[in-house]
Symmetry: C2
Subunit: 111 residues, 2 copies
DNA sequence: TCCATATATCGAGAAATAGCGATTTATAGA
DNA sequence: TCTATAAATCGCTATTTCTCGATATATGGA
């Protein structure tokens, strides 16, 4: 969990919205029957909702994944992305611990 | 409180550290006697601890201030910066509300 | 008024990011 | 094997950010 990468990934309204959308699958079209049990949303659906190009959405999802905020799973030709809840919680906890009120050492901030 | 600006300001280890340093004045040299009662730290001390140029620290503090995360107060030739605790709390609350687990609408995210 | 000092602002070059279309890769199915 | 499709990667230009030194501004004191 690289705080810089996570903050960078989140410094974009569309990428933040994607994280929010992924909370609830009802934000997306129903999955193909064969994927009814897969946990996550395929890139195409996210792209459609975000309204950016295919290459841009792929880059966005890579950034979110590199930051650890989402996880991906490939099923056939489709890549499904889902929130990485423990990582998101860790990120929020660490950010709050660092910059929030209360004692915390700045030594914990990695370059 | 512009979330984008705040996240951008925080996507830099030195700026995050400054916010942490400002929690505790013992991180800085003792104030001039005449400023013993002033709440905040003057730019020069922050610059010295951060180890960046004078113009850079001024820019850093402007970014943090523009994001609302710090407030400033001028006393004579000195500008004192201090944490804006309510704003920091608001920022963390909003970020947690948005991207944290639990129901929240993505409509709340401003472009 | 004149000077010293603290900070802000300006201007610039380097580096990073944004977003796109084109291309490549991987996979399912005919 | 060949084709179609989903997604990733590449290459590009425009924009933004980074960081600095130089300059400007403001203020207190001689």
């Amino acid at each position: 969990m690289d705080m810089n990468e996570a903050l960078m990934a989140l410094d974009n309204p569309i990428r933040r919205r994607i994280l929010v959308w992924l909370k609830d699958r009802s934000n997306f079209p129903p999955p193909l029957p064969e994927h009814a049990d897969v946990d996550g949303v395929c890139v195409g659906y996210i792209q459609e909702k975000a309204g950016v190009s295919q290459s841009t959405i792929s880059t966005y999802m890579s950034l979110l994944k590199r930051a650890g905020l989402v996880a991906s799973e490939r099923h056939g030709r489709f890549t499904f992305y889902r929130r990485n809840e423990p990582a998101i919680r860790t990120f929020l906890d660490r950010l709050g611990g660092e910059i929030g009120q209360g004692g915390h050492s700045s030594e914990d901030i990695d370059e």
